[in-house]
């Protein structure tokens, strides 16, 4: 990184004094075009980013409070959706993609997946009552075996999101080279490359703006679900080792973040249960990260534009399901956002799963929070491992089990 020009402490001092200069990543691009990197770096203290899209690896821990007499919950359902209960007595974890036990799923294809874990999380944060059912085997200290009650977020001891993988740094553009329609987590894909779906906010997306994870890490305060959250560290499948452009921007799905935050101060607008036809349920999560301008490099990286950010085009009819690394090509976010891309001679209309205008709203909200003094920055206590860490993405190495049928 180039020479450090300010510290997070200095930025926080300016936030307190109402003198901080904050711009969104979109505004930064214009500033750099006008004034150049060095001058912009001197002027701007913080750059805000945002993204809003389905993030399947999301979920919620709750402590529902002890019953009288007590129960050590073994199995639990919230509005019919199973929550994991293999924790202490009344702690539960509900994941965004869990569906009700009696959901027809894909028996009638493509399944509609009208309700699942993501919708339960949305209902809770929206203040709706949720039906908790639980069963147990009973012990001397926890004799109760059955429970059925309404729950409201305000009665819960704790409710915090814990999302093992959010904010993917770049993502695949999904197409279907096969000859029948397929239904994926990236939407409905028509055969013979008839459409292409992408899922990133591109030039606003948090990790694309700090490609080497220089300013963020454990403890970084962020916009999460309309409230305040924190970065825990690198998320699952964090893969800093992907090919990059000359400015360092990854050209494949790459880094990820694990994040957490208190659900009680979040907003249902930014945590929305989604139904992916033929695939399942998920949770659309609004997430924004403030990037402190610590050096001129911070600005260089954060000012990359849609035309400089490239995503891989992946065939979801064959290569993706079979875990083949092949790609059909690369395409910039500028092209993706124009509504059509070119693959060879073919023009393919594009759709998105990530809401850019909502991502911009997040970046602007975060900007206003910082300007008004209500949001200060945290110095990360641990960094996110970058390409130098040698961390690589692995497939499962399946091994035969001896006496496997025992």
């Amino acid at each position: 990184m180039t020479k450090q020009i300010r510290t997070i402490e200095e930025i926080n001092e300016k936030i307190k004094n109402g003198k901080v200069v904050v711009v969104t990543a979109e505004e930064l691009i214009d500033l750099v075009e006008k004034d150049g990197i060095e001058k912009t770096a001197k002027k701007v203290d913080v750059v805000t980013t945002g993204t809003f899209g389905p993030m399947c690896s999301s979920g919620l821990f709750v402590n529902v409070g002890h019953t009288k007499p007590k129960i050590k919950i073994q199995k639990a359902w919230l509005n019919g959706v199973e929550a994991y209960a293999g924790l202490a007595a009344v702690d539960l974890y509900i994941g965004a993609t869990q569906i009700p036990d009696d959901d027809p799923a894909n028996k009638v294809f493509p399944g509609e997946f009208k309700y699942g874990g993501g919708h339960v999380i949305h209902d809770l944060v929206a203040g709706k009552d949720v039906h908790l059912e639980a069963t147990s085997y009973g012990t001397n200290c926890y004799p109760r075996k059955k429970l059925s009650t309404l729950l409201n977020i305000k009665d819960l001891n704790e409710a915090f999101l814990f999302n093992p993988r959010n904010a993917y740094q770049n993502y695949n553009v999904a197409v279907n080279a096969g000859d029948k329609t397929i239904y994926t987590y990236l939407g409905v894909l028509q055969p013979k490359l008839a459409n292409a779906n992408y899922c990133s906010a591109g030039q606003l997306s948090p990790l694309l703006k700090d490609p080497f994870y220089k300013t963020i890490g454990l403890g970084t305060k962020i916009f999460l679900g309309g409230g305040i959250g924190h970065i825990v560290g690198a998320g699952t499948q964090h893969n800093p080792d992907s090919p990059r452009t000359s400015k360092g921007t990854p050209k494949r799905g790459s880094g990820t973040l694990c994040v957490t935050g208190d659900l009680k101060q979040m907003d249902p607008k930014w945590l929305v249960g989604v139904s992916m036809l033929g695939y399942g349920t998920s949770l659309a999560v609004g997430l924004g990260i403030p990037i402190p301008v610590l050096s001129a490099d911070t600005v260089k990286w954060a000012a990359v534009k849609d035309e400089e950010i490239f995503a891989p085009i992946v065939d979801y009819s064959n290569d993706y399901p079979n875990a083949k690394p092949d790609i059909l090509g690369e395409v910039s976010y500028k092209e993706l956002k124009s509504g059509k891309i070119k693959l060879g001679k073919k023009e393919i209309p594009t759709g998105s799963l990530s809401g850019y205008s909502k991502a911009l709203e997040i970046a602007n909200t975060l900007k206003n929070w910082i300007k008004s003094g209500k949001f200060t920055l945290n110095s990360p206590a641990e960094k996110i491992p970058g390409p130098e860490s040698g961390i690589k993405f692995r497939l499962l190495n399946e091994r035969p089990v001896k006496n496997g049928d025992k």
């Binding site: 998105s352 205008s357 909502k358």
Partner: protein, 137 residues
């Protein structure tokens, strides 16, 4: 000539218990398919059916229903976009055949033009937020 037609039938309270619709098969040689029905005893009933058969049989059948006091209207369908539910993702943009769903390529804001919508319903299920409502009336 054989035709098929979608109609909305509303039954006054007094007719709800009577098997009038079945006369369509028996007396008029029509085939019908119930698309939607909400009938509660002692209240008004509503039924959306698709009838098929010879053109003049269809007309006679429907005239019969009217003569029995059933209100018969051609089916109209409406697809409504619930803006508040929309995530502004844009997944529906390449799906919509009439550009009733539009995206401003500068702001990437998604909008809906009711007048252009032909209620084809192609967007309804692929929408991750299920932000569309289909209304039959």
């Amino acid at each position: 000539m054989k035709i098929s037609k979608k109609v909305v039938l509303t039954f006054p309270q007094s007719l709800v218990d009577k098997p009038i619709v079945f006369h369509l098969i028996k007396d008029f040689d029509l085939v019908f398919n119930i698309l939607r029905a909400s009938i509660t005893p002692r209240e008004e009933g509503l039924m959306v059916i698709e009838i098929s058969g010879k053109e003049d049989d269809c007309k006679k059948g429907l005239d019969f229903l009217k003569s029995q006091g059933v209100n018969v209207q051609p089916l109209k369908k409406d697809v409504k976009w619930i803006e508040k539910k929309c995530l502004q993702c844009g997944a529906c943009i390449p799906i919509c055949p009439t550009q009733a769903l539009k995206i401003d390529r500068k702001t990437m804001a998604v909008s809906f033009d009711e007048d252009k919508c032909i209620a084809c319903e192609l967007c309804v299920k692929p929408c991750p937020a299920r932000a569309f409502e289909v209304r039959l009336y």
